[in-house]
């Protein structure tokens, strides 16, 4: 499989050679294949955000190097060399709707292609396609983005990133502040886009249920170091290791451990989601239609 992203001994030091020097990344090495879905977990200050800011060249390593979509980034790389990369890597930060500014939804989505020199008509066409991809109804395209609900504003902001047809999508807690339904819709939107547009997705999240549901691999960061790279199934089986690093479990996994503690039932493999949990339990529980319906 082709590699989308490859880090080689990346260090990042904020304010180097000053008394305030702070090493945010320490010898970080890993690689991610094309079309993978990777979750990055770790506590506040563990280096997650610093790491993802390297992916589109917002930050460049202090030492070491990385490759993203065949673009090499070293401490010497100039910003000019990175302009092509910035089209290929779309980043959805927390509260992306704070960056909306245009008069209409369509103009806001079309801003980036116009900025990259694409003519008005073509930009509007691309914007319509992106709006459709995030399932924004046509009726909102001529409205002000500020009249929309929080969930819809977030869709507009995401469409404004997808419009550049990135190959890599970086999501930094993309559902913060949304209600549970909005959360689920946006997470499913990313999963669908990933398979339809063959994206490589990187998700920074505190929510282990999302990590379990969507990611195929997990990077665990602690104090600027990459502790481990594993599948969710491997990672969430190591309860003691997770406890030691103050990391949580998916809710379904926690629930499964409680059942194992109090009965002779053994799960195999350990369930990470509610449906996996129910699938394994259902055949051992009494069936029938409850009387209350």
């Amino acid at each position: 499989m082709d590699l989308s992203i490859n880090f080689e001994k990346v260090d990042y030091i904020y304010q180097p050679n000053t008394p305030f020097a702070h090493q945010a990344l320490n010898q970080v090495s890993f690689s991610l294949p094309d079309e993978s879905y990777t979750a990055i977990i770790g506590h506040t200050g563990s280096g997650k955000s610093t790491l993802v800011q390297h992916l589109n060249g917002l930050l460049k390593p202090t030492h070491g190097r990385l490759m993203v979509q065949e673009q090499m980034i070293t401490p010497q790389t100039t910003n000019k060399e990175l302009s092509d990369l910035r089209r290929q890597v779309g980043v959805v930060f927390q509260f992306p709707e704070a960056q909306l500014f245009e008069e209409t939804v369509l103009r806001d989505i079309a801003f980036a292609p116009k900025n990259f020199g694409i003519d008005e008509e073509k930009a509007a066409q691309l914007a319509k396609e992106a709006a459709e991809a995030v399932r924004l109804p046509d009726s909102v395209l001529d409205k002000s983005p500020f009249e929309l609900s929080g969930g819809q504003m977030r869709r507009v902001a995401i469409a404004g990133i997808l419009v550049m047809k990135p190959k890599v999508l970086v999501l930094d807690e993309p559902t913060a502040g949304l209600d549970p339904k909005g959360h689920q819709e946006i997470m499913e939107l990313f999963a669908r886009l990933k398979s339809q547009q063959h994206l490589t997705v990187i998700l920074v999240s505190h929510q282990m249920d999302d990590v379990a549901e969507y990611a195929d691999q997990v990077l665990v960061m602690e104090q600027g170091k990459l502790l481990t790279q594993q599948t969710p199934q491997q990672l969430f089986s190591q309860v003691e290791w997770l406890n030691k690093h103050h990391l949580g479990l998916p809710h379904a996994t926690k629930f499964a451990f409680e059942i194992e503690k109090k009965s002779t039932f053994k799960f195999s493999p350990l369930p990470l989601t509610v449906s996996q949990l129910a699938n394994q339990l259902a055949n051992f529980l009494p069936k029938g239609v409850s009387q209350d319906e």
């Binding site: 502040g177 209600d179 549970p180 339904k181 109090k262 039932f265 509610v274 129910a278 699938n279 529980l285």
Partner: protein
Amino acid sequence: MEKIAEIKNLNFKYSQQDSWLFHDFNLAINRYEWLAIIGHNGSGKSTLARLIDGLLVPQAGEIWIDQQKMSSENVWQLRKKIGMVFQNPENQFVGANVADDVAFGLENQAVPYEKMHQRVAAALKRVNMWEFSEQEPANLSGGQKQRVAIAGVIALKPKIVILDEATSMLDPAGRYDVISLIKELKEQEGLTVISITHDIDEASLADRVVVLDDGKILDAASPANVFSQGQTLTNLGLDVPFSEKVKLALKQQDVLTPSEYYTEQRMVDWICQSILKK
């Protein structure tokens, strides 16, 4: 039971709206109650909180706080009885350091200097942030910033504390931290807590849960009662307790599940016993 806040026949809409967000809306909140208000984005939760705090003025109806009817003359007085903690810890830190931030509200109320010092120190000690009093906000985690915001609120000695999604931007540890603090303060300071939340674990701590949908109260009952309506909550775009999610998933596989609401612990016990019976 004595009411600390009462909303009577309230009508409210924002100026650009055609129809009422709240139409003949009524809600009474008991003194020392912990009331959770749940509802999807746009259901009117935050608007309701701002109406109670007098930040928005209704077109018609009455709002009573601590036995007084709110009017343009007494709104400043009544607002002192209410403390609000908002969602984003970044947006409510106004001081250059932790102690200044807590002092801000007291300064606004012209509390004398000596007394202000005492109350800042006492409030910071109450939230376990005293050792951080000289720190800048940049050095604090989200949970710590919210604790400072809570110290700023309790320094003003309010009767009602409104949490407007105050934990939604925190990581699980920060969330737990803030909620256990509020729980403790509620008991010790005799507060009434109104918590607007999407977090079902936070709502389950309440004495009463109000389900709001487009400005209407769909349900107002104990957490156990409200949470037993799993499918209804899901249809409204709301979360349900994990035990209810398990129950729904099992039901879909034709498992005969208990009809009443079970806490997570009880659900584990039920599953273990049912497996054994087979």
